[in-house]
Amino acid sequence: MNDKPEKFIDDNGLRLDGRKANQIRDIKIEVGVLSRADGSCYLEMGNNKVIAAVYGPREVHPRHQQKSTKAIVRYKYNMASFSVEDRKRPGPDRRSIEVSKVSREALEDMVFTEYFPKSAIDIFVEVLQADAGTRTAAINAASVALADAGIPMRGLVSACAVGKVDETLVLDLNKDEDNYGQADMPIAMTPDGKITLLQMDGNLTLEQFKEALEMAQEGCRQVYEFQREALLDYYAKKEEIEEIAVVEEAPEEVIEESVAEAVEVEGVKAADAKEAESDKEIEEDVEEESTQTSETSDTSEEETTETEEPEEEDESIIDESDKKEEAF
């Protein structure tokens, strides 16, 4: 560990790490890094490294926690034991419990919880490397992971800290500024400037506080741009976007089936029926030999190559009718 630096700001007005007073650290965001989670995000903010996973909406366990009108949001902030210089004892401590609570509240109001009554949305954030500002980094990552999970939200939440060193306000504190500075104030905001989290330790005058708030707002806006860009890049990677065909209202449109009979589910009987069918189908397939698949013709990609089956019903794609008539 190092000791308190002589001066936090040099003669050129630059900070210890060479940043200007109102400059945030470099941010790197990767979306969808975990295949097992519904949504995930890896985020680096300076030397902070955090990874966020979102699961849900899913069933609530224990049951008594579920709310009958809305989803509950659970947030777990955890620091890996190797994330700090002196090994941290693993497991929740008072600090991480508090961080979890305030972070949950920072995100909860932005989620449309009323869409998913009786369910839970779980957010887990793991701090892999800590360097002052882990809670803000965690909120930024969690917010992107929520979007990636396809959870409806009013907007992303962006967070960043503002503090005071040598009577100067600085944005996005680094380790030394955080440890030896005069004030630290993490803030989370929505794109339209609503504050969902504001904590502070140290001292600020009222004027400094107001100025700090404005600085933080600018910092959050910059963070938001990074979050936004990461999400857009994730899917708009190379190709242009193709419009996804809309599901027609009629469920028949979505049915892909070839059997009409209500099969009596009685092991052998049903199996026999099925067998007969599948045999039938194989024969038919052999007969048909429909090898005309594409006529790569049209310019519009939506004008797809319809493989017309001999006796296909129009509109509905239930091609059971023909099979049924022939087979039975």
């Binding site: 708009a236 193709e242 419009e243 599901v247 698949t293 594409s294």
Partner: protein
């Protein structure tokens, strides 16, 4: 046609009447509430890129029995909620004590969502000629939001797939897909569906998929079909 990606909170329109799925209205403006693609056919909708299946009445889905109670089969429908298939929704009259004879834990079934109550009690039914227990073939899962892409306009993609692989494919609205056919065909179908899923958002997909299917198609048709059913029944 505007096709762009939006993130939650993005402004979409000033016309409140046009607000469709995946949007919300605030102070007379329409914003996106999902991360996905904008679709402006008649209403502005946001088609999510990912997300869980959310049941609505009339959906045909593939469910798996997870528990049997006195009068209900409790089913996993790949949604945030369980589905309930009441004993009376089975196509024929059965007694409570012989429920597991017809559908046991672990069995997969083609069912229809009958009703979704506001408190998210999801009632299923099998009282429809198309619905039945699944006794052969293979099941795979895809992201529910990719289902329309797999089916394609008016079923174009799926019928192409079925013809090329000589398989029967049923796509459930909850993203579970049931494929029956010859082993090789089924393998091919799964491979193709995975490809579609990963490239659902790209341009000219149908052409690429048809090329993919063509390029690897075996010209000769295997006359001797392996009888999977008999193996299963032994």
């Amino acid at each position: 046609m505007d096709k762009r990606i939006v993130i939650p909170g993005d402004f979409l329109s000033d016309d409140v009447k046009k607000a469709g799925e995946g949007t919300f209205i605030q102070e007379g403006k329409v914003y996106a509430n999902l991360y996905g693609l904008v679709n402006e056919k008649n209403k502005i909708r946001v088609v999510p890129i990912s997300g869980k299946y959310f049941p609505s009445a009339g959906d045909l889905i593939i469910a798996t029995v997870s528990e049997i109670t006195f009068s209900n089969w409790i089913m996993d429908i790949k949604a945030p909620y369980e589905g309930l298939l009441h004993i009376s929704e089975y196509p024929r009259r059965i007694e409570s004590d012989e429920m597991m004879k017809y559908l046991n834990v672990g069995d997969s079934v083609l069912v229809m969502v009958k009703e979704v109550s506001p408190s998210m009690k999801i009632e299923l039914t099998m009282r429809d000629s198309r619905l039945k227990r699944i006794i052969n073939g293979r099941l795979i899962e895809v992201t529910p939001s990719k289902v329309p892409r797999i089916i394609g306009r008016g079923g174009s993609m799926i019928s192409m797939l079925k013809n090329a692989t000589k398989c029967n494919i049923f796509v459930g609205q909850n993203g579970v897909i049931w494929i029956t056919g010859k082993e090789r065909g089924v393998d091919k179908a799964i491979e193709t569906i995975t490809l579609i899923e990963t490239q659902a958002h790209t341009n000219g997909l149908t052409d690429r998929i048809s090329k993919f299917l063509k390029g690897n198609e075996t010209s000769e048709v295997d006359q001797e079909s392996p009888d999977i059913l008999n193996e299963l029944l032994d």
